[in-house]
């Protein structure tokens, strides 16, 4: 590619890369892409995992490379870093809406001191009631908890606050 790569354009392309387990939210909106640097037509993307043991990290890394390559960027480097570590406040408003529409309760914003209280009455993504209980803080993936709604009697998952 000869023309100069523009950062806005790269961010736009990266919006195509979705979370492999929640394919409605992009890695940008999830907040796991922490920096994009373009120097001499080389694109360096910094990423950080939601949970340290997230098994999807390698897929996401490859997806970033694949999408940028598809758009003609030949020189891509992806670094996994904890310099700016992930917490659930990093999910954008657009991302929170996507989670909700997918049927997952978005994590409540918090002051980085998560305690059990904020898990107890999560708003049900199906009917909007907060008459809900935490069934277990451990769900089908490391980043989800399981809740039950006593109003609509549906069981639902939440993207866990961290």
């Amino acid at each position: 590619m000869n023309e100069v790569i523009n950062k806005e354009q790269v961010l736009d392309w990266l919006d195509e890369v979705k979370d492999p387990e929640i394919p409605v939210i992009s890695l940008i909106d999830l907040g796991v892409i922490t920096n994009v640097d373009i120097t001499d037509n080389k694109v360096t993307v910094d990423m950080t995992p939601t949970f340290v043991g997230c098994p999807a990290m390698d897929y996401m890394k490859q997806d970033v490379v694949d999408v940028l390559t598809k758009h003609g960027v030949d020189n891509v480097e992806v670094n996994i870093s904890f310099k700016e570590s992930w917490n659930s406040n990093k999910i954008t408003d657009k991302g929170r809406k996507a989670l909700h529409d997918f049927g997952l309760a978005p994590p409540p914003k918090h002051n980085l001191q998560v305690d059990i209280d904020i898990l107890e009455h999560v708003e049900c993504p199906n009917c909007g009631s907060d008459n809900t209980i935490l069934k277990t803080p451990f769900g089908p993936t490391a980043c989800r908890s399981i809740h039950h709604c006593d109003s609509c009697h549906e069981t639902f998952e939440q993207f866990k606050p961290l």
Binding site: T48, F51, V52, G53, C54, P55, F82, K83, S85, W86, N87, L112, V114, D115, I116, K135, T136, P137, F138, G139, P140, A142, I146, K160, L162
Partner: protein, 249 residues
């Protein structure tokens, strides 16, 4: 900064996580109820992932690849405390071990967020948040079952008494303890043990359980002296990897 001292610290933390992570994973499909099956499996995933991140730091300062380090060492090369390698036993035993270990681990990582060794401090800030879910889980069940029926209380008390000397073994001092403290890498095992004891007493005080009599710590794990249970665990854990260590996954 004393590199040997730093490596010793990193190895023992990562080895504890890897071995207990493997033991937790043995509950997959075996939990007493579905939620507990998933809880132990999720904590297994977290702990193995966290150990991987620490082996990665070790790799960056000259040690082997994380997979090699995890799968190709023998028991005497592991620095985990003996408590984490003990077989799962029944659920009460695994739950009590989880409580004793995770209470210490959470305090250890709180302390490490202030480490002078930056890569460790950054990782600790991340792991600290994840461990909140582990300690929350342990505390909830210890409080509930520690005040429930005669059977649940007596089972937990028996496991507590049996595990206590092993739990004290978590705080076995390193030969480099003074360097670790002087360099500001970690405030030391004694400081950790003191905070741990206070936290455990506080939670046990909210149940009908009693603190066991003070007994002699089961030491040796940090120096590579292990029970008969570690090598079979390692053989099983590394069985697939060893079929073809160069395979690309």
């Amino acid at each position: 900064m004393n590199q040997t001292a730093l490596k010793e610290l990193l190895y023992k933390i990562a080895d504890d996580q890897l071995i207990l992570g493997h033991r937790n994973s043995e509950w997959t499909g075996m939990g007493p109820l579905l939620e507990e099956d998933i809880a132990f499996s999720s904590m297994a995933q977290d702990k193995v992932g966290q150990s991987h991140a620490i082996y990665q730091i070790l790799h960056e300062i000259g040690e082997g690849e994380p997979d090699q380090v995890a799968f190709m060492r023998n028991a005497e090369q592991f620095h985990n405390c003996q408590m984490v390698e003990l077989p799962n036993g029944e659920y009460d035993f695994s739950l009590m071990r989880h409580f004793l270990y995770d209470t210490a681990e959470a305090i250890r990582f709180d302390m490490l967020t202030k480490s002078s060794y930056e890569p460790l401090a950054l990782l600790a800030k991340k792991i600290q948040g994840e461990l909140r879910y582990h300690t929350m889980h342990a505390k909830t069940w210890i409080k509930q079952l520690g005040t429930a029926t005669e059977e649940s209380k007596s089972r937990l008390q028996t496991s507590f008494n049996e595990l206590f000397p092993y739990a004290l073994g978590m705080f076995e001092q390193s030969p480099y303890e003074n360097d670790i403290i002087a360099d500001g890498i970690f405030p030391g095992e004694e400081a950790l043990k003191e905070k741990w004891m206070a936290r455990v007493e506080e939670i046990i005080g909210q149940t009908d359980l009693k603190m066991p009599e003070v007994s002699e710590a089961k030491l040796g794990g940090r120096k590579g002296e292990h029970t008969e249970y570690l090598q079979p665990l390692l053989d099983e854990m590394s069985e697939v990897f060893k079929i073809d260590p160069t395979a690309d996954w």
